[in-house]
Symmetry: C2
Subunit: 319 residues, 2 copies
């Protein structure tokens, strides 16, 4: 593969396009990850919804289907962390992306075993902690992103410059990025690359259920909302389950009531098994602009092409 | 004044820099508006907090202190609309910016009297309605903006491309814009100009109380929040009054309870009279990046200079 040596994220990750496919529970297994990596961007296996043995299967399948770098995303609240670390080291996973927790404990272990480490942050304060923990880059993810999200509610447009100003390692922008124009905006803000999640849900290689994908194609603006702020903030697509969450929250729900409503397996039910009424559907605000289900490689190519076109158009504003 | 004829917003408004100073209650009177217009951007008198006679005084003072175009911002829920329209027509205000209501009723009246009309929207659906009502341009304002805000919670990064794709008139981006890098991001998204509010609060010419300005300088990330969603959504700086709102909302407050807590004169108390404990303080998320109180002209010049520098840097990413 060609490597874009002009770009800090491409040099770090040894990829051609500074585009990272977001690791997503129930959506991003080896098929999606290897398709993205084969297209010259960084494919990511979302370990959050996998038992250790299943993760090992996905890593091995990914290695069999791409020669290019790929990553595993781990929410640091993962219940079987020790087993997972063992697998990642045994399988020589080149890049680990950590999220939803403190990178202080695990970054050194991954780095000592030759992994590059990126950590997802929702604030400049967390970015500084991640840098101090030794991560190679941070992913600054804004309020508009799908799934779990920060409590600060800072949007990508505001967050990225704050993070860029506060650390000396490369910054990747995430949240609200589904096009080359949005990628150009992120780069204008000082990011060296982008992470795109939602856009990759609607690809042939994603393991998202077709019903979930169709629901995204139909979604208009304002049809996602950040919910469960008194428990773990998460951006959901509006459906019957979301309405139940809202009804509880409008009457001052406690964390315990939300946990009870959530129950077990809500996310699998919605995103993997296709129950778009009672299941939990995690997607970002850019759902409103997703119109087609396409090959993952096309997402990478189209984004890069539109990014370059946008940069060309911007030169018209130069005085 | 020089006019940037390359830019659609500059041609429409007859200005040099495609930067609009947001009209802000208790903050943007004639001093701020004329300083911004004299700097080659568009100064805006915020009529929302003025009785008709006071508005006339501000318009006349603005005309005496600048030869350049300026605008009046009117929330369309303004209680004395007829008196206000009469003044705007009598005083030959060149540009009207409407917000917080439907432009269907008043746009034709303003246009028939020679005013250019811009309308603030929080969704592509509202943008289409504004275009149908005959406005000359729309201002697409995202979730991160200060003060009153849309119910969709769509961020500027997501909103602007949706609006640009749905109308044939020029689009101005607002919300989360306080620097030239953020301006470049907005232009990358397809906007032809930007509206900046919060950044102009911390200027010498703003009528914001010094206590309010100091509170903004001290604000870190995550220190504003969109509140009162069951009444009229508004982004507030966190203080004792905000905490009272939160406490009510966490227990499932009704609209009536919020109206009662709000009482009369909360915004004046906080922003104009400087009670930063019990007053309402409206500011956007970029409060976290505001470090100095400067002349308004410096905001215009610095933003434009950094915008140009950012465009130059972006050309490094061209292949």
């Amino acid at each position: 593969m060609q490597i874009n040596t002009q770009n800090a994220i491409c040099r770090l990750l040894q990829i051609n396009f500074p585009i990272i496919q977001g690791g997503m529970v129930w959506v991003s297994g080896w098929k999606l990850a290897s398709a993205v990596s084969n297209a010259g961007a960084l494919g990511v296996i979302g370990a959050g919804s996998m038992h250790p043995d299943n993760l090992r299967h996905h890593i091995q399948s990914c290695k069999q289907t791409t020669q290019n770098p790929y990553a595993v995303n781990i929410p640091l609240l993962y219940p079987e962390m020790d087993a997972l670390i063992e697998i990642i080291i045994q399988e020589k996973v080149p890049i680990v992306i950590t999220s939803a927790g403190s990178p202080a404990k695990y970054t050194a272990i991954f780095k000592a075993n030759g992994c590059k480490v990126l950590h997802v942050v929702s604030s400049a304060a967390f970015a500084k902690k991640a840098e101090a923990a030794g991560v190679d880059a941070v992913i600054a993810e804004g309020f508009e992103a799908g799934g779990h999200n920060g409590r600060e509610e800072t949007t990508t447009l505001v967050l990225v410059p704050l993070v860029v100003a506060s650390v000396n390692i490369p910054v990747v922008a995430a949240g609200g990025i589904g096009s080359g124009a949005q990628m150009a905006a992120a780069i204008a803000l000082g990011a060296q690359g982008v992470q795109m999640g939602s856009k990759f849900i609607c690809t042939h290689e994603a393991s998202a259920h077709r019903n979930f994908q169709e629901k995204i194609l139909q979604a208009g603006e304002g049809e996602t909302q950040l919910c469960m702020k008194n428990y773990v903030p998460v951006r959901l697509l509006k459906n019957a389950f979301y309405q139940q969450v809202q009804t509880l929250e409008n009457t001052g729900a406690t964390k315990e009531q939300l946990v009870q409503l959530l129950g077990k397996g809500r996310a699998k039910k919605g995103m993997f098994l296709g129950d778009v009424v009672e299941g939990e559907l995690e997607v970002g605000q850019i759902a409103a602009s997703i119109q087609n289900i396409v090959p993952a490689a096309k997402v990478v190519q189209d984004t890069w092409q539109e990014f370059q076109q946008t940069l060309h158009k911007l030169t018209n504003h130069l005085l």
